[in-house]
Structure formats: structure tokens, C-alpha cells
Amino acid sequence: MAQAAIELIGINKSFGAVRANRDINLEIVRGTIHGIVGENGAGKSTLMSILYGFYQADSGEIRVGGQPASIKSPNDAIALGIGMVHQHFMLVDNFTVLENVILGAESDALLKKSIAKARSELERLEREYGLEVDPDAIIEELPVGLQQRVEILKALYRGAEILILDEPTGVLTPAEADHLFRILRQLKEQGKTIVLITHKLREIMAITDTVSVMRQGTMVATRETTKTTVGELAELMVGRRVLLRVEKGEAEAGGVKLAVKNLTVKDSRGVTMVDDVSFDVRAGEIVGIAGVAGNGQSEMLEAISGIRRAVSGSVMLDGKPIDLTGAADPGELRDRGLAHVPEDRHHVGLVLAFEENENSILGYHDDPRYLKGPFLDIDAIRDDARDKITKYDIRPADCRLKTANFSGGNQQKIVLAREMEQDPGVLIVGQPTRGVDVGAIEFIHKRLIAMRDQGKAVLVVSVELDEIRSLSDRILVMFAGRIVGERGPEATEGELGLLMAGVEHREAAE
């Protein structure tokens, strides 16, 4: 029997009335890669935060290397050789790599010695694990893949033997993710223990030795990766069978509903984010925009939906032009049959402090259906909200509840219900399932395909390649503000990955 690096015995943790972890038992074997999967809110991150000393368990025992350990702060965890790479990087953006690495692990009250020591230590880590990064680079000027590498280096610099990674691939391109996996395998060969938290089953299958599944705060199963399947894991996560790929018929594309011509958009710093982009979306088809986050997709969506002013370019909606460089505003676009589910539902899509029913008519509040003279018709609004709750299976089914109290997936359903039920001709959706559970993903995908089958034009932007491939009838790939390729839904992940990384684009330019 191999030795356990970490044993968790009977861990319980509650936040108010929510039991985030119930009686968790988990054993992680030294020198392996151990995956932990589960839906959002299943308690994975809470469990790992307890292990890293960010929270304290209400009850239960932690053993590190066979010894009972009391982990009261990240300091204790670091001293026990536990390092963590957080989902949102814990880096100081305007510091250099070196400064970030030594922060909190300085050897001296003066920085000179610490920096010299860190510099030689980084060189050693670079040699041993192939973790090369310029020690004097400023973090915010590095691509996310390298920023993540700095996080790994930070942990290794502190002598981590056990490395916890929380959703590490969410922000990476497929190529960057592959590179990360190579690094993780190398770390494993050197005897490090790695805990990988993710909701992406494909990654689990690709890299882990053992996988544990969490559901609603409990640990439901632990399997050897070679002896399980994606289907079984998905079922364990959700508690029922799940369709991993929505079934859909052939698209019957009709006339052009939305035509974007030579659209150019700059961000607030004056950097060109969308560069002369043109494409059409026809009735009865779903067009998917693939790309790594930050390649202009967000700015393009904002321009088309009237939130951000375009520098130049035109958009035709149902054959009639919209002026995106000037007076277009989201309200006018809504009136003309363009509905928009924004990428960032918390900041743009919802007012979290409002009740559910108020959010379910947000932006359509001047519709006569919701008005009684100059006043809002509260009864009509609530009836309407209750209808949507039933139809979209929004839980809890309470239209008076504050929106902040719904889970991410249900908040997304509130926005989708609001926009889809207006029966728009064109639906634009940004990141339809970001932060949404597997079960709800299936539901949302089905609704989007139903919209398509009703003959609506649907434009989907997502950084999840699987989602784009499963939904789209045509796939456009964006890189550095341009559309660098169009593919059919049968395109392979590798092919799209290369386009997303700009590889083919660069070759074509040479």
C-alpha cells in the first residue's frame, strides 16, 4: 500500500444553514495526481480551502504524511509542504515575477538577499521542471499561462510537496493546458503529489491517476481513472444520466437576419480589440464564435448589442441598418428584435439586489404588458415571472426571492428566460453556461437549439470549445480581434485549437 500524503477524516463545514462539506473522507496517495470533480457548489473548493487553512473545518481530522495536523492558516499549510494554485491568481499584477515569488517568504527584513536567493532558486526550478519564465517580467504583461506558471513557482519556492490546483485550465488555450499537463506529469515524476480540482471530465481522464466525485457537499465515489468512464463520472456528479452532447437535427438556414460588416471596436485604452470583422447569421442556424478569452469576443458582443460604441462598421438587422458608432442603444435594439444574454450576468445582466420577478422583466419594464397606466403592474409581472420559473425550471421556485440567493446556473436561467421569452428574431448569447452545472448546461443547450429550430438566428460566444462544437452549425474562430477561420461543426478540437492560438493565421501571413 502506497503511503498517504493527505488523509481527510470526517470533515464537516457549514456556512450558515448551508452544509458545504458533510463527513468527507478522502485519502490522497503520495506521488499521484488525484482529481476531484463535482458541479459548482458541490463543495470542492471549500474542502481544498480547509486543507490550505483558509477556512477551518467545524469537525474532522486532517493528517499530513500520517501525522495529525492542525492547519489554522495558509502559513501552517505552507509549513506542512502544501501549496495552492488558486482559480483566481493570487498575484500582485504590477509586481515582477521575483517580487511575487518572494512575497511572504522573504528570508530577511531587507529584500536584497531574498531576491538574490529567489533568482538562483528560480533558475534551479526552471532546469528541473522546465518552468521557464523571465524573473524580471511584470505580471500583468505576461499571458495567463505564464501567470499560472508563476503561481506554481510560488508554491514550489515555498517547498511544496503537495500542490493543489483549483480549476487550472479555465483560462488557458488547449495548447497552454497541454503544456500545464506536461509540467504536472513532470512534477509527479519528481515525487510531488498533485490535487486537481475541475469540472472538466476530459481533463480528469487525460491526466489523473485517481478521481473522487463530490455532489452536494458529500464525497460520493472514488475511482481509479483507468477503471471509469466520462459517462459514469458525469452520472455520479449529477446523480442521474446526462447527455454530454445535445442531439440536434440538421439546421435549416433561411435568410440573413444579422449581418455584421467591417466592424472595428476599440477598448477604453484605445487598443483595437475587434479589427474589421464581417459575418452573417441566418435564420434557423446557430453560429458559434470560438476563441481564447480576451481576443475581442467580448467587445464585439458589446458593440453588436449596443453597450459599447464601435469605431466603424455597420450592422444590418433584418435588412435594416443599425448605427453602432453613434446613437444605437440596447433598448432600441431590443425593440427591433435583438435579444442579448450578456457574458457577465452579475454586472450587466442582473441587479443582484432585486427580487427575481423584477429581474425577469429588466429592460422590458416599459412593455405595456407590465404596465398599468404609468405604474408597473406588479401582479402581471409576478404572474409572468412564475410562468418563466415553471417553464425554465428555475429553483427555488420563488419569484420574491432576492436574485443574489439563486445559484449561478439558476441566475443564468433567469436571464435566458427573460430574453428568450420576448420571442426575439436574433438572440446573442455570451458564455451561455459559464459557472453553470452540468445538469443545467444540458437544459440551456436544449433551449438554444429549440430557438434555432423555431427559425431564430442565434449567435453564441463561448470560450468552452466543447460547447461551441456541440451547439454550432457554423464555427467562427477569433484571434487577436479578427476572424481567422470558419469551420463546420465536424472540425476537430486540434484544428480549432490551432486557429485559436493564431498558429494558422501567422503561417498564412508569412
Partner: protein, 323 residues
């Protein structure tokens, strides 16, 4: 030669007038770099000025006065910390409250203790910080150009003036060469990074606020024990706010802060100098306009001439661990 003497005089008073600004500006730098907005610089200077003058006149010692000024000012800084770090209160509200308490309590206590309408008794010369004459200053006075520069500009200031200007390289060194400085800058940018590195965010911010309190205390002592021979009500007269403006103008960097404060001090000195003096072409300018000049220029400079000043990113936001 008249013009040269006039320039020397204006520059000399520039130095004197920029000292309280500089001390307050550096004080603000410590706290804002650590992520705590401190609009209460004004109030802390004021209580420092009052405590310094009161203690000096009671104990007949300038140094006891200075110590008391620092002590009381640090106490007020800790109140700000208690409200905004420990209890995660709104930093602007807490700062404004401190300014009001300072303005009211100094007058009230001054009247109760000294019965001079809110003033403290005039300080005798041994109760104030006198000028330090550098060796050879008197002998070199007659040397053309360099003589007056040495004996007027460099020599002949009180010890607090030198403290203020030495605090500039010292602050730079603390900020960029020490562990405390690294952590302090980090906590103002991303406290979560500091927390996950196993360092206490609260303790770090408290320490930064103590530095702030020490410096505003010295600034207050300078006002009531060097520039003036005693405390007068509301004697800070908005210097705390000008210091905040200078801090933004300096983009939160110590050396820039010194130049920004010298500029504001120079404008102030110039407006005093030009009062009642007819200007060529324009003629006599009303006193009020001259007095308003530094403030008008502040607005213009801040509005257009410094480019984008990016404050520490976590500034003003209380750190909440639970996500």
C-alpha cells in the same frame, strides 16, 4: 541683485511652506499604498499641532511636545484603522469623522485648558524648535550666489525641516528595499495575495497607519511649534487636502511627492510674495486672487496635466476574506 535676493527669499519660504505638505503627503503615501484611503490627514495634523503646542507649553520642552503630537496623531490613525480595517467601515466616512472630531475637540479642549479662545499660550523660544545654523553659514553669507544659497536655503531651518526631506529617501528605501515595503505595496494592490501567502492583512495595514500617524504628528508639530509659536484653531487650513492632491499628482511615489509638495509650496510662497506688488502689464492683482492661485493651479494640474494616475488597486476597499 535685488531680483536674486527676492528669488532666494521666495525659495526659502517655499521650503518652509512645503514641509507640512510633504510630511502629510508621505503620511498619506504609507496609508494609501497599503490600501487605506485617508482623508483624515487634515484632522490628524490638527490634533498633532494642538497636542504638540499644548504639551510644549505645559512641560516647557519642544521634544515632549513633539512626542505628544506623534502620540495623539497615531492614536487617531489607529481609530481610523479600527473603523476601516477591523470593522471594514467606509474609509471616507471614517476620515471625515476624524476631521470633524479634530476640528471640534482642539478648540474645545484649548478653551477649557488655556482660556485663550481656543489658542494655546504663545511658546517661548526653548519650547519651539529653533533654527539650526550650519557651520560656516555666517562666514559664507557674503560669497556671491553660493553664499546666500548655503546660508539661507540649506542652513538655518529647524530640525523638522531636515527630518521632512530626509523622510523622502527613507520612505523610498522602505517602500522598495525592505520586506515591510514589499508587503505593504502588495496589500494595497491585492490583499488576497498577501493573505494566501500567510501574512496578516490587518496587522500590515495597521502598521502602515502607524507610520501615517507618526508623520502627520510631525507635520502638526511643525505647524504649531516651528511655523507658528502656538496652536491657532483650524491652523491646518486645508493642507491635509492639498497633500492628498499632491499624492495623486505624485502618483504615489516618494520622490515625486517631494517635487509635488515643493511646487505647491512654491505657489503658496509666490502668492504671498506677490501680494500688493503690481505686476507688469496686469497691474495690481487683488490679494484674494493671489491667495486662490495655488488652489486654482491644483485644480488645473489635477484635471489635465498629469496624465492618468492609477491608485493602488485595493484602495478604499475593506478586505473581506469570505468569498
Amino acid at each position: 541683485m535685488d531680483l536674486f535676493n527676492a528669488i532666494i527669499q521666495v525659495l526659502d519660504s517655499t521650503i518652509r511652506l512645503s514641509v507640512p505638505l510633504l510630511l502629510a503627503c508621505l503620511a498619506g503615501l504609507y496609508s494609501e499604498r497599503a490600501g487605506i484611503f485617508d482623508i483624515g490627514l487634515e484632522g490628524k495634523m490638527l490634533v498633532g499641532a494642538f497636542a504638540g503646542a499644548a504639551a510644549a507649553s505645559v512641560f516647557h520642552s519642544a521634544f515632549i511636545g513633539l512626542g505628544m503630537a506623534i502620540l495623539i496623531s497615531v492614536a487617531f490613525a489607529l481609530v481610523h484603522g479600527f473603523a476601516s480595517i477591523t470593522h471594514r467601515g467606509n474609509q471616507i466616512v471614517s476620515g471625515v469623522a476624524i476631521n470633524f472630531i479634530a476640528a471640534g475637540s482642539t478648540i474645545m479642549l484649548g478653551q477649557a485648558w488655556f482660556q485663550q479662545g481656543g489658542r494655546t499660550p504663545a511658546l517661548a523660544s526653548d519650547e519651539r524648535f529653533g533654527a539650526i545654523i550650519w557651520p560656516g553659514a555666517d562666514e559664507l553669507r557674503s560669497v556671491p550666489i553660493l553664499g546666500p544659497i548655503y546660508s539661507e536655503l540649506i542652513s538655518g531651518h529647524s530640525v523638522l525641516v531636515y527630518v521632512a526631506f530626509l523622510a523622502v529617501p527613507f520612505t523610498w528605501w522602505v517602500l522598495f528595499r525592505t520586506r515591510f515595503g514589499l508587503r505593504m505595496r502588495a496589500v494595497g494592490e491585492n490583499p488576497a495575495a498577501v493573505d494566501t501567502a500567510g501574512i496578516s492583512v490587518a496587522w500590515l495595514r495597521y502598521r502602515a497607519l502607524i507610520c501615517t500617524g507618526v508623520l502627520t504628528g510631525i507635520a502638526g508639530a511643525y505647524l504649531s511649534m516651528v511655523q507658528n509659536g502656538g496652536f491657532v484653531k483650524d491652523m491646518t487650513a486645508g493642507k491635509g487636502y492639498i497633500a492628498l492632491a499632491a499624492l495623486i499628482f505624485a502618483k504615489w511615489k516618494p520622490v515625486n511627492a517631494m517635487f509635488a509638495c515643493l511646487l505647491f509650496g512654491f505657489l503658496d510662497a509666490l502668492s504671498i510674495r506677490l501680494q500688493g506688488t503690481p505686476l507688469p502689464l496686469i497691474g495690481k492683482v487683488p490679494v484674494q486672487l493671489m491667495q486662490a492661485l495655488p488652489y486654482i493651479l491644483t485644480v488645473i494640474l489635477l484635471a489635465g496635466f498629469i496624465g492618468k494616475a492609477i491608485p493602488p488597486r485595493a484602495g478604499g476597499v475593506p478586505y473581506v476574506k469570505e468569498r
